[in-house]
């Protein structure tokens, strides 16, 4: 599965061969993980949290539209990511609701340039390229893709 460069966090190598350090469930032992390994664990998390089939969890799949996540599932996903990767997940980093649902950033059903700019800094793990072409607020939910979660986790593992 090819991953677009735009869908990756800025410092990531688009070749897909980058290696990040990853904690085990216990958080003690440290091994190295490729992006595929991160994706594989994220897939397990989403299969458990959302009751979907593993094949449905493609990098492009959107959490709400494609995988049927409801709002409460986001908290479940946060808890499961923390356990699976031994990282601390800040819910408002992964899903920055204060930007996403701020009426100041909406004009005539579309997100304003200021809002998009805020979103870009708040969600470096999301691919905004398609959204920017037609920033209808109802398309915001499509920013939450499996790829965005993988990017976020990689970002966290690098920082750890």
């Amino acid at each position: 599965m090819a991953l677009s460069a735009a869908g990756r966090i800025p410092q990531a190598d688009p070749g897909g061969s980058d290696v990040v350090r990853i904690g085990s469930d216990g958080g003690d032992a440290v091994t190295t993980a490729t992006r595929d390994e991160v994706l594989s664990k994220v897939r397990d998390v989403l299969v458990d949290a959302l009751g979907v089939d593993s094949e449905e969890v493609t990098p492009e799949a959107t959490l709400q539209g494609d995988l049927g996540a409801e709002s409460i599932d986001f908290l479940d996903i946060v808890f499961r990511l923390e356990k699976a990767f031994g990282i601390k997940v800040n819910r408002s980093e992964l899903f920055p609701e204060e930007v996403l649902s701020n009426p100041d950033y909406v004009d005539n059903g579309k997100m304003t340039d200021e809002g998009i700019s805020k979103l870009r800094s708040a969600m470096p793990h999301a691919d905004l390229s398609d959204f920017e072409k037609d920033p209808q607020v109802e398309r915001i939910r499509d920013l939450f893709t499996v790829d965005a979660i993988v990017n976020y986790v990689e970002q966290k593992l690098r920082a750890a």
């Binding site: 949290a49 409460i72 599932d73 908290l75 479940d76 946060v78 808890f79 923390e82 356990k83 819910r91």
Partner: protein
Amino acid sequence: MRWIWIDKFVEFEPGRRAVAVKNVTRAEEHLHDHLPGFPVMPASLVIEGMAQTAGILVGQARDFRENVILAKIRSASFDDYAVPGDTLAYEARIETLEDHGATTRGVVRRNGEEFGRVDLMFSHVGAAQVSGLPRHNFVFTESFMTLLRSFEPVGDAVRGGGA
């Protein structure tokens, strides 16, 4: 009738683990219809029993400052039925406890033998978010606190954090 599906706590380790028991009895009216001639405790009520055990455990861990709302049944599986005369023991353990909520893992034993597993997720809801909603929507009312007070072995420790 208050919606209480546990009879008493038999073990309570604050912030960690609790065990509550429930005696299933033929006097429970719903068993006359579920099912006619074949009384079986509905699995949904077994889950409710675990949710109450785990919910009080989670609430007590933070001194009942937040309302603890059952947000999600992460998984539930049962190997058999519970019928009148059975004693269920709900053992709940806190897996995660954070500002937003908590997750618990649970084992249900029937007459001492494991017969089900129920893993739950709770969401913490502060007073500001529930203002205007009726108080009886939430679990930590007087009748629930009585359950903890009637638990003698660690009663003092638990009472200290009462609502």
